[in-house]
Symmetry: C2
Subunit: 365 residues, 2 copies
């Protein structure tokens, strides 16, 4: 047996073990193909089948309507931060609304202002980015080119419970760290995207789901790679796509469909896993203090602090000795962060919960 630790990494992150075993089994040659998936041309029948199957599985999982395209791009969220305003804002003579609920939203805003007129519709700075606002707290500019939100802020551990209502204004969403964690009403979005390395696969591919009519906004003078329309027209084969990463997304989507039983089942499991940790925090009488306000608590990234830095260091050190690894909070905010994405086994979360309880007891005894 291969020895594996409990990996609470925020991303790239844990993958389903059955998926890894399938990758391993077929690594030298895909069955019936005689070549590794790493060696097949993106224009040949083997990859064509993988690409179509991946889109088909994502459509089934998310019930993606026919008038939405699924694109597989490179460059991560960071490139999307620029591509979104380049494609959806440039040439519209409008501005775009940004809802800032954490570090990734701030980075998206930082890139967007280089490309056009941006209005901050809501900014969670005053409360330390610990919640997603209610619809009543901010107003959509009805003339906006789009409204930009981050469904889950990985660093702060802030997730929205549901999409904000934006009326006729297209909702654009960075779902990088909670993609596929629960059912999503795709028709509520103009564009929703996710880099794969949290819930959907390895680093190196970004999945963009975009409504057909928004593709018309892409100007012909955009750099070729940065043009959504070019990628849609060529079915993600505008240039060589990250073939292996797409293959992994395909296997992860297959795991969700066949082993987990779809996104509603995944949601329930994620809810149970997150509740194990949040309950431990809530029952610690303030020893563990959660960062996010309860209504905005992330199912994916559970962020909390201990009473002081020394205890936090001790917590991380002892956790690592029990092979509970990658629990340090992001270097920009500190504290503890347990990333418990789809593929994180319930048993590993239980181990962490037990460790948190023991650590607390040892402090009190």
């Amino acid at each position: 047996m291969t020895h594996r630790v409990h990996n609470f990494s925020p991303g790239p992150a844990v993958l389903p073990e059955s998926v890894l075993m399938q990758v391993q089994r077929d690594l030298l040659a895909l069955p019936g193909v005689g070549m590794s998936v790493l060696e097949i041309t993106h224009r040949g029948p083997a990859f064509t089948e993988i690409l179509q199957s991946t889109k088909d599985r994502l459509r089934r999982l998310l019930h993606i309507p026919e008038n939405y395209q699924i694109l597989f791009l490179q460059g991560g969220s960071r490139l999307q931060f620029s591509m979104i305003p380049m494609n959806l804002l440039r040439g519209t003579n409008r501005s775009a609304d940004y809802v800032l609920t954490g570090s990734w939203g701030l980075k998206a805003h930082e890139e967007a202002v280089r490309e056009g007129s941006i209005r901050v519709a809501w900014d969670g700075k005053s409360s330390g980015y610990n919640r997603f606002p209610d619809d009543a707290e901010w107003q959509v500019d009805p003339q906006a080119a789009y409204v930009y939100v981050t469904s889950n802020e990985t660093i702060e551990g802030v997730q929205f419970a549901r999409e904000p209502v934006t009326g006729e204004v297209p909702l654009v969403c960075d779902a990088s760290s909670d993609f596929l964690c629960r059912p999503v009403p795709i028709a509520r979005y103009g564009l929703i995207y996710a880099c794969a390395q949290k819930n959907a696969g390895p680093a190196g591919v970004t999945i963009v789901i975009v409504r057909d009519d928004l593709l018309d906004r892409s100007r012909k003078d955009l750099p070729g790679y940065l043009n959504y329309r070019a990628h849609a027209k060529e079915d993600s084969l505008f240039n060589t796509p990250p073939t292996f990463a797409i293959y992994l997304v395909n296997l992860v989507a297959g795991w969700l469909l066949d082993e987990i039983g779809g996104l509603e089942a995944m949601h329930q499991q994620n809810r149970r896993k997150a509740d194990l940790l949040y309950r431990t925090i809530d029952e610690s009488n303030g020893f563990y203090s959660g960062h996010a306000q309860p209504a905005s608590r992330s199912m994916m990234n559970v962020t909390f602090r201990l009473p002081n830095d020394e205890l936090q260091s001790q917590f991380l050190k002892l956790a690592e000795q029990q092979e509970l690894v990658n629990l340090a909070g992001h270097r920009s905010v500190g504290g503890i962060r347990a990333s418990i994405y789809n593929a994180m086994p319930v048993a590993s979360v239980e181990r962490l919960r037990d460790f948190m309880c023991e650590f607390l007891q040892n402090q009190r005894s």
Copy 2:
């Protein structure tokens, strides 16, 4: 034993079998790490070691001087076609010289003209892009921001024998399809780049080697992901890099160093492999007609035609029956193309050579 065919794909392409076996062996958990390389965070010690080792191995293989940075980016050559003029031309009030020797150079030019003033210094169109020009045939604009060349045109099978002399003007080179095929005098270049999926690894990572002083040209108002300086400053961790693809590049570089014995040895092997096929073409009394002029013949992509389309179809069909696959020329030019990158075994090239001889004999008998 896993059954593997002879894969003459132009890219993604054949990888060394020993590399694939190492990937397979460690896929569930890197030794001593307890996590798959697909699951490790890019900011942790395991990936840091991989990244530094990859740079170190490339430096040793190519004798890369200290004043050059090695970057690992996404988006393929297509994104480089835009990033190069965005970073090296924008704001200089100069134009750039492009030498067009085939399809990839043409695509690079197509993107570059969107970004600034471009001069075509030489264009091989009149002879059907079958050669790289002598230095005497064209003149560098001494005021040019850079000179752009493609060292190997994958589609036409045209490779330069040596770098053109460009004096003080920085030479920028797309080496996507012949990177690491032979020693390269890096100091002759301002910037040289390659997407990995031919000689260096899988699809999904592009290696950019750039001289320090050129990084100063990158303007602060560039989109973050498109700014070479941002990537150099963060040592390719400006955002999440394609970790698995970089791991593969590391293993391929290790294979070149330890199993092949460096780039001079690789060059000799590539020379021998290419000669096997070109000799067969030359000795066929015109039955096989090579596309490239002899002095510009590519060691990586051997392109040729048969007397008519029917014979070509028959050739491809019979080759496939002998498990010699992916030999069809690019859809834009037709004919036959045998891509024989570094990892293509000599034995596979011999099999193809034998098949070509038999096919010719059968036509004549």
